[in-house]
Symmetry: C2
DNA sequence: CAATCTATTTAGAATCAGTATAATATCAGA
DNA sequence: TCTGATATTATACTGATTCTAAATAGATTG
């Protein structure tokens, strides 16, 4: 069950293109820095923090600044291409890069986040649309508890 | 639909007792400061930040320190009595104090959080328990989009 | 009750995340 | 190429969160 399989090359490419298209549609320039951030977000399954994104992209772009990373993820978040999650322990945020409806199981002890897919999630979307005037772009589900590891460890 | 009705006195009392019991069960002392934090969390529907909790409790406890607030919410979070949410705009965290399964609709423009209840949420719980080895304490659903207000305003 | 041990609180310092600013660079279009 | 708008960068700044050491309060034991 855990952990999720690494995304296929096709899937990475599709997510990457989707992010670029979202930026294009909203009239943002496709700068090399933004493209690098998008590419990293498309290929990772690690729910990265802004700092992790910064260091990863720095490998290709030694001059990139944190501000550019923050700008880019803020835009992508507003466009609904990524989702902001609490990182646990109040230490900033993480980003969910898989926006297909699924469940994040967060371990309240070690903070790790696991992905699980469920059936019939469209039904939730339908109910929200019926009951509210919200213009929904995406949604996801978070579960909290102890992961298999932390259930047995006692520290 | 919006906003949620204020919680009844009975409901406040029940939530308050539940938090105190959780602390007791986990062998934490019921200090006056912790009790005051719990009481505020039980009576609010505002998804407060640590700072808001601090100022609210300070009214009754002028000497309380921020560290005590942070300690208490961290414990309550580990016990599953409250849920940490990203506050939007990267400005720290907020806490969901209503742990009955429901939906938080977060407006990606103004950052406000709305509560909505849905049917058949037990089914999600069942699916998670069937498919994973997680020991789940609670879960909730987050939706993202534009609230009715922000759909019409253009700034 | 006194002595002791541990958990908790407090104030303040330190750290870290995130934002704002101003100068520079890049890009698109005339 | 020139011009204007947008984006990036480095750095300074603000505010959120954590850490630390000392003081306090509660529980426990003799």
């Amino acid at each position: 069950m855990f952990p999720s399989a690494a995304p296929s090359q096709d899937h990475i490419q599709a997510r990457y293109e989707a992010m670029l298209n979202a930026l294009r549609r909203a009239d943002y320039r496709l700068t090399p820095q933004r493209m690098a951030v998008c590419h990293y977000l498309a290929e990772t399954r690690s729910h990265p923090t802004p700092s992790e994104i910064f260091h990863a992209v720095k490998e290709q772009f030694p001059t990139i600044s944190r501000a550019t990373v923050y700008n880019t993820v803020t835009v992508l978040k507003e466009l609904g291409e990524i989702i902001e999650l609490p990182a646990g322990g109040g230490t900033g945020v993480r980003y969910e890069t898989d926006i297909t409806p699924h469940v994040n199981l967060t371990c309240t002890r070690c903070g790790r986040i696991y992905d699980v897919s469920l059936d019939n999630l469209e039904d939730i979307l339908k109910q929200i649309n019926e009951r509210t005037d919200f213009q929904l772009t995406n949604f996801h589900i978070e579960g909290y508890g102890l992961c298999p590891n932390c259930q047995t460890s006692n520290s």
